[in-house]
């Protein structure tokens, strides 16, 4: 299957309603190839909902999402990689088997080779790779999830708090990996509270507050508190 080649992601006036609760309100932004943004905001701001819509898991109640000008489709899905709170991996299978399976599922050429390559890149050594991933430590599981998300060379990578459970070295390694992906031309959107971790990776910050996008500007090495100060002057 040809890999999706969308160059940008365009979110236009996206809204999401759950019964009486408006989770997202008129969110619009655009991210182009090689752009990495940090998605910030207090709890309940709608970050997970937005990621859910961008990953195609749920549909917006209003507005549109376009991948390279085209709406959601299997081809678009082939170009999206997701790192979520859950592992999205089969606990009974080994790391290697999981990666091989997902590589095949996404139509990657030479799936076995690619799986081994990702195992190496994420530092999952031979011993771990052939153990059921249910036995992995939290940090190893996180690395496997990232490997799974990147195995098909996605154009859009969505990460929901990917640094939790990683030690300092792990955070640095993941940061370096994400920079590599960005330089490959992928679009990254990272939900995080850990700004220092993404300071090397993300050039831009998007802040959600009560379902609205209240801030969309370059990060330029500022601290989280500064960004929040600018974005949410009343809340502080």
């Amino acid at each position: 299957m040809p890999s999706a080649t969308f160059v940008d992601v365009e979110v236009e006036k996206v809204g999401r309603v759950y019964g009486r609760r408006r989770a997202l309100h008129d969110v619009s932004f655009r991210l182009g190839a090689g752009e990495a943004a940090a998605l910030l905001g207090p709890n309940g701001a709608g970050k997970s909902t937005l990621l859910s819509i961008l990953s195609t898991q749920s549909e917006p109640s209003s507005g549109t999402v376009r991948f390279g000008g085209r709406p959601t489709s299997p081809e678009a899905r082939a170009g999206i990689g997701v790192v979520a709170h859950e592992s999205l991996c089969y606990g009974d299978l080994t790391g290697r088997e999981n990666l091989r399976f997902f590589a095949r599922l996404y139509g990657v050429a030479s799936p076995n080779q690619r799986a081994d390559e990702m195992l190496g890149r994420l530092g999952l050594d031979a011993d771990a790779a052939d153990r059921a991933c249910r036995t992995y430590s939290r940090g190893m599981m996180q690395r496997l999830s990232v490997a799974r998300a990147l195995i098909h060379r996605p154009h859009l990578v969505l990460l929901d708090e990917p640094f939790t459970g990683l030690d300092r070295d792990g955070v640095a390694a993941l940061g370096r990996l994400l920079v590599e992906e960005r330089e490959r031309g992928a679009i990254l959107l990272i939900v995080t509270h850990d700004l220092p971790a993404v300071s090397e990776v993300c050039q831009r910050a998007l802040v959600l507050h009560r379902g609205r996008l209240v801030y969309n500007a370059p990060l330029a090495g500022r601290a989280l508190s500064d960004v929040y100060q600018e974005a949410l002057p009343a809340a502080g």
Binding site: V17, G19, R20, R21, R22, H25, R210, R212, A234
Partner: protein, 225 residues
């Protein structure tokens, strides 16, 4: 449904059901079963409405699943509730009639058994909708579609199982004096069905409107903060 039409139907239904006993009393007494047979004037129209409710529900469910239409979903739930409601009438009047006519409450006859299963499927619809969690509407819609599609299969399998080939329709064996009252009752029940359907749809519409108002209030407060 427009107000005046609803009121008209309500009046027709009330008048019809009010006058029906008069007609039923005046209708000729059936030879084999005697006076008891007259329960059929309410039993059969209830059965018709049960099946009608099921197909309305399934139709709404398909509309909702394919188009995401909230109106479809409203039809689905309203139809399901009416199926259960009229189903109760069928399942109460049926055994009463059977007891008096044949001595036993339940004889596993084809129509009653099919009605029972249909009733259970749409009762399950209501359970699914209430307790089905996040995807409850879609789950129950799927059940409604499967349930309606199942009806002919249930009917055939039960009738072959009981080795009873479907009799000629109950309706065509009616004596001339009975047809008038029968169709009169069917019409009255139909008006009742439509009135109840509309009332139930209106309730769902109100709920949706209430949600919209909640959202509007929140938006207003947000904008002014």
């Amino acid at each position: 449904m427009k107000r005046p039409l609803l009121i008209l139907f309500a009046v027709l239904a009330a008048a019809g059901l009010g006058y029906a006993p008069q007609l039923i009393f005046g209708a000729p007494i059936e030879s084999t079963m005697g006076f008891v047979q007259k329960i059929f004037y309410f039993h059969v129209p209830s059965a018709f409405m049960t099946f009608l409710g099921a197909f309305v529900s399934a139709g709404g469910a398909i509309w909702y699943l394919v188009n995401g239409s909230p109106r479809g979903d409203r039809l689905a739930v309203a139809g399901a509730e009416l199926t259960v409601l009229f189903g109760i009438c069928v399942l109460v009047t049926g055994p009463l009639w059977a007891r008096k006519a044949w001595g036993t409450y339940w004889r596993w006859d084809v129509r009653l058994t099919t009605s029972l299963l249909l009733w259970m499927i749409f009762l399950a619809y209501l359970f699914a909708r209430r307790y089905g969690g996040a995807g409850a509407k879609r789950l129950s819609a799927g059940l409604a579609v499967f349930g309606a599609a199942d009806v002919p299969l249930i009917y055939i399998s039960v009738s072959v199982w009981r080795s009873i080939h479907p009799k000629t329709s109950v309706v065509s064996t009616l004596g001339p004096g009975m047809r008038g009252p029968f169709w009169f009752c069917v019409a009255s029940f139909l008006f009742l069905f439509l009135v109840l359907l509309e009332l139930r749809l209106a309730l769902e519409r109100s709920r949706a409107r209430l949600d919209e108002l909640h959202l509007a209030v929140e938006d207003h407060l947000d904008a002014n903060s």
